[in-house]
Symmetry: C2
Subunit: 348 residues, 2 copies
């Protein structure tokens, strides 16, 4: 006999990418930014007072909302702080979905979506991408309460343009969540759509472009009516004082952020070229990672061989993805190490 | 037309206690510890590396699990880290409750429970305490999936003894969550019950005894089967690296913790006596706050007058609580200021 609900018993939990405890590894498996966050973050953290630790945080993280609103040319009422982007995903499933209110999204995509749907016990409609990862036309007619488009998409690294997503939002009767966790590395974004559409929520993360995966900070951008509704389902104090301080300093330092993003983009191009030289037909990436089909070689075997050398990439043992590897763009020496290791593996 | 589920539209969100942004106030309204956390916390935070900020946290916070297990004489597999105690409350509602699986708890108690039930759309059975806040016998026969006993209870500050809760767990077919957020200030606790009962989950918080309300850290203690099930419904990275570091250092420094707790308990006695001298029949408290019936005076009027002097206590505008104030035990000077202000208010 189990004490849990049936849907919980029957599901598998989400398995996050392996987090090696050793520091001395080439870690290209969970899409962290290879460069450190703004020095202002560390400076602000080291100045935290015991008074701030002792007291509850600001429940809404207004210092961050103000800073993010200024960066984006929006108002603080358009912003909601979340404990990582995943916290927002949990909130939208709880706010919009249930047994009678399904969710839909194109696949392959972020594998947390179906896990959250199972916890919420809501049906999902998974609409396959075509081979070029265009927006599937069927998505508009699925008739669901919540449609999610991860854009740029993980793990394909591909992007759908803003006008297509605006048309989709226009056709939908429910919410369109655009998961922009990786958008810092893309050429465009959908923020401006929240002014025109009352059913669009944009997810943003401080983990990728801002190098703050360790502090768990994301945010929603939407019209104030949606933000107010989401506040009702969020944990009272979902983001802590240290995270608010770190994220606020990071988003204020746009110069540091942009320089880091440019460095990643430049290495992304170099890594793409090197992998193509090895015979892997890598797609163009709009993110900080590459999806690399491994051609004649078995992806899982390459994965194992790299792991043994303390080089960690991501392998998904699911149909459509099991013939390729997802590789985070690292620093130049890390990328060099990866390429050198791959060359040796392929020579054997 | 609303995009939200009906239950979300119809509910009011939980309203956390007022968090004044000014530091120069007497803040006795949200049960923070008036004393700072262990100096080792600040020391460890100031040593955080950009590498830790850049990388994802350990999904399970194993450093904390290990430290907590040692303190409690349990195994790390008995411990689950949560983003504040509230995160665990959210998890248990999602893991055990739905439309057909109700929750039950004695009232008055922590007002977040009904809010979480509404979000989960699960029925609740609220069983009134008697006038002495004994465990209501009806609780055992409610036949629900999740029974919650806040112990010591907020906002009554009263406690139910361990044997009674063991008997309750024995009678229940579902889960018994014992919310021990305030237990650091009580004379006993229920931790040992998790060895004997496969249906007991203990909630602990680092916000009260350990003075870390600002970092949002709580934990569950239960048998490993329950912990494994809860891991499936938790956010992948629900606690951040800074919070893990802070909480781990805090729980390791038992000497500092115990000294702070003793200081609070001693002031609790002094404040209780002073309030009784003013004619408020304050109940004995097993927490770091007092529930003070205001006798002939209107509680809300006293609350307003104190607020105007920047002295913040908590007033609940609900039947059974609207004739009293909940007052956090502060430092000796804070308590003196409160008593002096109350004396003047009552003289008028």
């Amino acid at each position: 006999m189990s004490y849990f609900r049936d849907n919980i018993d029957k599901m598998d939990g989400y398995v996050p990418g392996f987090q090696p405890s050793a520091v001395d590894v080439v870690k290209l498996n969970t899409n962290e930014n290879p460069y450190p966050p703004s020095p202002k973050v560390l400076e602000a953290i080291s100045k935290i007072t015991t008074e701030r630790l002792r007291r509850y945080p600001d429940p809404l993280g207004n210092a961050f909302r103000q800073a993010a609103a200024e960066v984006h040319g929006l108002s603080p009422e358009n912003i909601l702080c979340t404990n990582g982007g995943d916290d927002l995903l949990t909130m939208v499933f709880r706010a919009f979905c249930d047994e009678n209110r399904p969710a839909a999204y194109p696949v392959p995509t972020y594998t947390l979506y179906p896990v959250l749907a199972k916890i919420q016990n809501c049906p999902v409609i998974e609409v396959p991408f075509d081979s070029e990862f265009n927006l599937p036309a069927k998505l508009a007619s699925a008739g669901v309460a919540l449609t999610i488009v991860c854009n740029p998409n993980a793990p394909t690294a591909t992007v759908i343009n803003k006008n297509e997503l605006a048309s989709l939002a226009d056709e939908l009767k429910g919410i369109l969540l655009i998961d922009e966790a990786y958008v810092d590395f893309a050429e465009d974004n959908c923020l401006s759509l929240v002014k025109d559409f009352d059913n669009i929520i944009i997810l943003r993360s401080m983990s990728k472009g801002y190098s703050l995966a360790g502090v768990r900070f994301g945010y929603a951008v939407a019209n104030p009516t949606l933000i107010d509704g989401l506040i009702k389902v969020k944990d009272s104090y979902n983001v802590d004082s240290l995270a608010i301080i770190a994220a606020t300093e990071a988003i204020k330092d746009q110069q540091w952020f942009k320089r880091n993003v440019e460095k990643v983009k430049s290495e992304r191009q170099r890594l793409t070229d090197s992998l193509r030289d090895l015979g892997f037909p890598v797609l163009e990436s709009s993110t900080n990672f590459l999806l690399a089909p491994t051609g004649d070689y078995k992806a899982n075997e390459i994965y194992d061989k790299l792991s043994k050398q303390n080089i960690f990439v991501r392998y998904f043992n699911v149909p459509g993805l099991d013939d390729r590897l997802r590789i985070t763009v690292g620093t130049p020496p890390q990328n060099d190490q990866l390429i050198a290791a791959l060359k040796k593996i392929l020579e054997r």
